[in-house]
Symmetry: C2
Subunit: 270 residues, 2 copies
């Protein structure tokens, strides 16, 4: 009977912890949930910790002290992350994806939940050390990706809007020049979206010259906060000099040739 109950707890604990990545559960929460002693829960957690570690499914982190508890941190091996990215690069390399104007159709990939869960976890692993307070992106296509990154971090997402929106209340806005098309555009952010003095991680789907990322950094400064990192799913190889210096791309787009129907996109090497 006791054995069965332990299995029940282990299954429920695994489910609850992995459903809420980076959320710190107090041990008391689980003691009440299962009607057991703290020492029992601690043993259960140790078991799960060893299993997820061995199976390379992530890390269970225990935080001691009164405000302590346990949280699940998703994580992949370097090889597993590389496999996700090279599969994705292959999927993006088909000639049917080339759109007149030399663009690459990526929406289907960007809007597939299973893929974005994985990309979100890869970004979280890459930027974990920066300890951001918010994930920030700009509408539209990068939102699912940025939201899954926010989920992996257990952080709020903030979406920068094109133009100004009346339904968002008082906003700050800036004009910026997109690096590639050289057009002047406006982007805005509700004042209340980011607390002053925050650390911001910018996540977007695509970077060409980096004008948008530079604009976001300026906008974040306007609310007295700081961009501590920038991650994009795809960056173009050209121009090699981007307007932001410090960014990480997961995939590099080397070439889209409308005539030869060739797409050359590969995982970035770090």
């Amino acid at each position: 009977m006791d054995k069965v109950r332990r299995i029940d707890r282990l299954i429920s604990l695994t489910k609850v912890l992995s459903d809420m990545p980076n959320y710190l559960f107090s041990l008391n929460y689980f003691c009440e949930l299962f009607g057991t002693a703290k020492s029992t829960i601690s043993e259960d957690i140790l078991t799960i910790k060893q299993v997820v570690h061995q199976a390379e499914l992530g890390t269970l982190e225990t935080v001691s002290g009164a405000a302590g508890g346990v949280r699940f941190i998703p994580g992949k091996s370097k090889e597993a992350a590389y496999k996700v990215l090279s599969d994705l690069a292959e999927q993006l390399s088909t000639p049917e994806r080339i759109i007149p104007g030399g663009f690459l159709y990526m929406s289907d990939v960007l809007f597939t939940p299973r893929l974005m869960v994985e990309i979100g976890e890869i970004f979280m692993n890459r930027f974990q050390k920066l300890a951001p307070d918010y994930i920030v992106t700009i509408e539209t296509k990068g939102i699912p990706l940025a939201f899954m990154t926010a989920r992996a971090f257990n952080l709020p997402l903030v979406i920068v809007r094109q133009g100004s929106k009346v339904t968002e209340g008082p906003s700050v806005s800036i004009n910026y020049v997109t690096g590639s098309t050289k057009r002047i555009q406006t982007m805005s952010l509700p004042r209340r979206a980011i607390a002053a003095g925050s650390r911001v991680l910018v996540i977007d789907d695509f970077m060409k010259a980096g004008g948008t990322a530079q604009g976001i950094a300026e906008l974040v400064q306007e609310v007295n906060s700081e961009v501590v990192g920038t991650g994009v799913l795809v960056a173009t190889a050209e121009p090699a000099e981007k307007l932001v210096e410090d960014y990480q791309a997961l995939l590099i787009l080397h070439e889209v040739d409308q005539h030869t129907k060739k797409v050359d996109i590969r995982p970035a090497i770090y």
Copy 2:
């Protein structure tokens, strides 16, 4: 030794299955992963099935036959769903949320991953029987919510854009009149985003008169597909007659009064 291995499998299985809701894993996949016989995996799955059912964490569904396997379907009890919604209604009822013009600031809630995971699962449970092929939303604020619904269903998301976008390839577009502001606007959809003959579930954050939802339904018809259901997080009580007949709202916004600073928002009763 054997006992330890069983616990290892149960923990890993729970993690893998609950990470990918509604994804059908073949039993062979797990046989190879753990190097065990099919009968052993079947027993493990039965154990997990009983535990998640008892703990009201969802359902494990086994599909027999050559193309069969096992999938995890998230699910809450009616009481748990109602609690999520009434907590959310309370959170949305604070006077600070009232924006000049009588709008309600909801972005922080809409962009909080933990909350949207729950709302996505509630929508999935409500609309499961409609067996949609795609989740469709319109930019911008409903995207995280619609994406989490897509994740719970394991379906692709399609985002309708305001205006037309050159980076999306050939598109269909329609003009529509927003029910509340009576302005003519354009919305568009890449032709390749939805296969002809598909069943579409529309998910959005807010509905007032229903003009946007009506527009999406027309746009979906243009690509020879059909809207089989519409779900919104918040619908206003007035106008009671919406432009779409068949929709479900999770919360009803009865009143936003700028003078008395009163917000009256409550879970819808079904």
